[in-house]
């Protein structure tokens, strides 16, 4: 077993620091001197109504959209480029590559020697042993998302940005994938955008609801215990109430 497949991330951890970020989209100021710190080694969940700018914020963190002002950096003050892995709600697997080759895409793009054995170990770790040679079309939706997770892990980055990564699979698959993600992403700084309050309460060390325009962060308390939490019992239902109330407030004035 190499360190990549052992429990937890062993590289250099980093906070994600958003420093006075301003960003407009179609003339609407989504963010105006917006600042936040997402702590290292923890999973931060972002919720909020559609169009509030959750995905845009995530894309700004990934360096995929340039902010109008301000910046996103690591806790050490250096840029995050090259320290980020990104996972989308669609698996983004390349249809002409096998699952294994998809996992190795990052190495190929960087001109590194692809570590086939490590890719196979990671595929096995996400439950895709024996499926490494299959193309995405031969895999189910849940399996494709597992392959995408293996690709994310293969990048071995301290920061993982996830945009509704499990929204396109059925409820049971989603439940299993959440537990798996929680386990394999331990030790990394994860920012998870989700529409699903239960997912946020299961996986988040911290929860924020994005509200208003320009957007502000409204922290919602998490249930006791460490992720992945069971979605019943304890104070989970109470925290669910809290979160739903906050989401309803944030959604006020927006037609359903």
């Amino acid at each position: 077993m190499n360190d990549m497949t052992a429990a937890g991330f062993t590289g250099t951890r980093t906070d994600v620091v958003i420093d006075r970020l301003s960003l407009a989209f179609d003339g609407v100021a989504l963010f105006d001197r917006f600042s936040a710190v997402f702590p290292s080694g923890q999973t931060t969940c972002l919720l909020g109504p559609s169009g509030i700018g959750k995905s845009t914020l995530l894309r700004a963190m990934a360096g995929l959209v340039a902010p109008d002002a301000g910046r996103v950096q690591g806790g050490d003050g250096a840029p995050l480029a090259g320290r980020i892995a990104y996972m989308d709600q669609s698996d983004l697997l390349l249809p002409w590559l096998s699952a294994r080759e998809n996992v190795l895409l990052g190495a190929r793009l960087r001109g590194e020697t692809p570590d086939v054995a490590a890719a196979d170990r990671l595929l096995a770790r996400v439950g895709l042993e024996g499926h490494a040679d299959k193309r995405p079309a031969a895999l189910s939706g849940g399996m494709r998302q597992r392959a995408a997770l293996a690709r994310t892990l293969m990048e071995d980055r301290p920061v993982v940005l996830m945009d509704e990564p499990f929204s396109a699979v059925d409820a049971l698959t989603r439940f299993r994938l959440q537990a798996l993600a929680c386990e394999v992403l331990a030790g990394r700084t994860v920012v998870l955008v989700t529409h699903d309050p239960q997912e946020a309460l299961r996986l988040g060390h911290r929860l924020f609801v994005l509200t208003g325009s320009p957007a502000q962060l409204d922290e919602s308390p998490v249930p006791r215990g460490s992720p992945p939490r069971a979605p019943t019992g304890g104070d989970f239902p109470a925290r669910y109430e809290d979160l739903m109330t906050r989401l309803a407030v944030g959604d006020a004035g927006v037609p359903a």
Partner: protein
């Protein structure tokens, strides 16, 4: 099943052909019947095959050259902004001039031999290949590009690797449709070139037979040309399907 359909269709066409000959009472030097034509076709098979070989060689070399040039232009235009400004108008202009109009010029410049016919075929093949591949390169799913950018560490990093591993494979189905069009029109280029001036080839044979009122030989050459064109198209189509198995229309209908 496919073979049966083919035989029935061909048989039907021959019966229709014979019926027209009988009903119209056309003399054999204007409209030979299928039996006369087939007799010439098989009786002078070696002679016709020799000319067919010349035409086929022209088509294949033209297909090769046109494809290589078309792919190279599309890649250059997709990669370099100045190339887009300079090459795109040339690409469009090359299509605005009818190949028929410049055929005499090509024969004048390149001679009566094979070169002028290869030039014609290349010209006619170049555009569908270049335009369809360029279209494919410009339509790469932007989310794949985003993913590649998080892997390479930023926008515009390692554009050649992104081209090679993401954009070019993604554009292959588009290139394939261009190649299918090219395979269908390639014989036109070669035959037009032969009509304008040549010493061999099916186009030359048809012209000579026509002038000597050997209409049955002309029909035999025509049938050979049609068979050649159809065989070329289906061979190209077959090879492309095998080479690009992830194309939506070649994927298995059900997911396991």
């Amino acid at each position: 099943m496919k073979g049966v359909r083919l035989i029935v269709t061909l048989g039907g066409l021959f019966v229709l052909w014979q019926a027209i000959v009988w009903l119209s009472g056309a003399p054999p030097y204007l409209l030979p019947g299928p039996v006369d034509t087939l007799r010439v076709l098989f009786g002078r098979a070696g002679f016709i095959a020799g000319h067919a070989g010349v035409t086929l060689a022209e088509i294949l070399i033209g297909l090769g050259l046109g494809t290589v040039l078309g792919i190279a232009s599309a890649v250059a235009i997709a990669l370099f902004r100045p190339a887009r400004r300079w090459l795109l108008p040339i690409l469009v202009t090359s299509q605005a001039i009818p190949v028929f109009a410049i055929a005499p010029l090509l024969v004048l410049w390149l001679g009566y031999g094979m070169a002028s016919k290869v030039g014609m075929a290349t010209l006619i093949i170049y555009f569908p290949v270049a335009s369809s591949f360029l279209d494919g390169l410009r339509r790469t799913d932007p989310r794949w590009i985003d993913l590649a950018q998080t892997m390479t560490g930023g926008p515009k990093r390692r554009p050649l690797a992104v081209l090679r591993y993401v954009r070019m494979p993604a554009a292959l189905p588009a290139l394939a449709s261009g190649l299918r069009v090219a395979a269908a029109v390639a014989p036109i280029g070669a035959v037009v070139g032969e009509w304008v001036g040549s010493g061999a080839g099916l186009g030359y044979l048809m012209l000579q037979a026509n002038a000597r009122v050997q209409i049955d030989l002309m029909f035999a050459a025509l049938i050979t040309l049609a068979a050649l064109a159809v065989a070329l198209y289906f061979t190209v189509d077959f090879v492309l399907r095998k080479a690009i198995p992830w194309q939506p229309d070649t994927l298995p209908q059900t997911n396991p």
